[in-house]
Amino acid sequence: MKCSGAEIIVKLLERQGIETIAGIPGGANLPLYDALGQSDKIRHILTRHEQGAGFIAQGMARVSGKPAVFFATSGPGATNTLTAIADAKLDSIPIICITGQVPLSMIGTDAFQEVDTYGLTVPITKHNFLVRSVEELFDVIPAAFRIASSGRPGPVVVDVPKDVQMAMAEFDAWPEPGKRDTQPELIMGEVERAAKMINESEKPILYLGGGVIQSDSSADALALAEKGGIPSALTLMGLGVVPVDHPLCLGMLGMHAARYTNMALEECDLLVAIGVRFDDRATGKVPEFCPNAKIIHIDIDPSELDKIKMAHASVTGDVADTLKALLPLIAGKDRSDWLGEVAALKESNPMIIPEAEDPTSPYGVILKAAELAGEGAIVCTDVGQHQMRTAQAYPFKHPRQWLTSGGLGTMGFGMPAAIGAALEAPDRSVLCFTGDGSIMMNIQDLATAMEHDIPIKIILTNNNALGLVRQQQDLFYGKRYYASDYTRSVDFVKIADGFGIKTHDLGLSDDPAKTLAEAIAEPGPSLIHVPISPDEPVYPMVPPGAANTEMIGGEKND
């Protein structure tokens, strides 16, 4: 066989099972696009910004659990991808970014649209490649898929100079597609030690994170909780691992947790940390996090163990393998005293959802949309108050139902990630909760949603401010609101209308619940505008750097 580098890349992507690629062409990746245009297996989604393409890939990967691919050209195309790649690194999302580069002979000459993509992406990728010959592609493309999906997943960048895309190679056979490596064997002594500590504990809590979702082991985590009678707190990334309405579910822990959740953690004598990384938004001030507890830490990435908090016992391994090995060793134990204590904390310090019944309130619209969209819906958010409210109030039932930028906290994530989710799961309802600050950071890809008639439902709570920044100024900067209020406002309904998106304004509706129902039920993309007050903080809130017990607001008033 004889093919060009570009044809080889496209064929190898087809062989990996890739069916959708978002991206933008430019001078340095036109050979790749020319080859992609000949593919009848891969659909291309032309975005309006490369960051949007990156978040579309993330949306696909977060829903499917499999690597997703996006394309960008050299120079500004590549630099525009960086935020989406860094975001994927922090949340361990398997995406593969294939960038064009100036021809090999011109690298290092400050050629037109040349930037050091390799150097720029070293600290924000799991691994990256600068391909230096067409023959290398046979190794590099399968390796990119293997690396992105093996162990702790993460983003991979493959930078391909234009002349490598155009060079011809003769070869006999295609390489095998890149697959997830098999996991190293568990050390059973570690598992047995963990089981013994769990069995001896009077007041254990499970602390479950994104690693449980990545390893598709939510059912095993729930089985562990049920067998041991162990209450379970979830990280932001772990929402959906245990259904919100399950009696053992404590909801999200940390900065915007319900009061009782952080209080229960204060009381526990054993913290079983599974697929988590002790993020500062979850732990608060680390020395005061779970002060009475021994810690078991289970993670596939050895560098996470003992990074923030020294564990009393750790298990290095895939969470799914570990849970399967652990479960038979767990004794069914009567922990009714502890569960009673937790229930009493919940009774006296519940999650307070203000104005839950009003579909035009910041929380009410989330609950109403959840009810209308049903339990199979995929929920995306941007970053800010609306994100924390959704995390607090949405009735999550399933893993991979919740797509949010956890580690990097990227405003602009939500809408393109929702497009990616809808492309990956066309038969499911996709909600995107956003704010007026966040949506502006990638609003251009409303055009992409319109062009492909992608049925995302964007629920925009608009306080004409950077709400979470403003809330910090309110609480910690003497109410000096500086650079957090917009002095004039834009008309989002007109903007969305201009993009050819159907619009609804709950602020002008006589029957907001009915309007919301119509918007969610109608085909194609819709924007639902919900004007809200800037003076509605998200409570409770732990001040940054404080212990999780120092919560502000959210008290039960009765």
């Binding site: 070293v122 600290p123 691994h127 990256n128 600068l130 690396i147 990435d301 050895p302 560098s303 003992d306």
Partner: protein, 92 residues
């Protein structure tokens, strides 16, 4: 004086490897006091020796280095290594 140690890395030999390794140290403001690198096995792999201060972050550094795709193995020599003793002669 701060205690020093030597990390001996076996790595794939290509132009990006040094940047991956040094990046891990620089982004954590962890100084590398000395570096030596030589190709082995005809140039397919290289050996890198890093002379670093042994502060409390070193275990985490070793784990991070070990995670790199192009790093094939890491050994730690708390008693130092002859390569730096010999190189020291050039800066006397």
């Amino acid at each position: 004086m701060i205690k020093q140690t030597v990390l001996e890395l076996s790595v794939n030999n290509h132009p990006g490897v040094m940047s991956h390794i040094c990046g891990l140290f620089s982004r954590r403001a962890y100084n590398v006091e000395g570096i030596a690198c030589m190709p082995v096995n005809g140039g397919g792999t290289s050996r890198i020796w890093l002379l670093v201060n042994a502060d409390e972050r070193l275990d985490q550094m070793v784990k991070q280095v070990d995670k790199l795709e192009d790093v094939l193995g890491v050994e730690r020599h708390d008693g130092g290594h002859a390569v730096f003793a010999k190189m020291a002669e050039f800066v006397q």
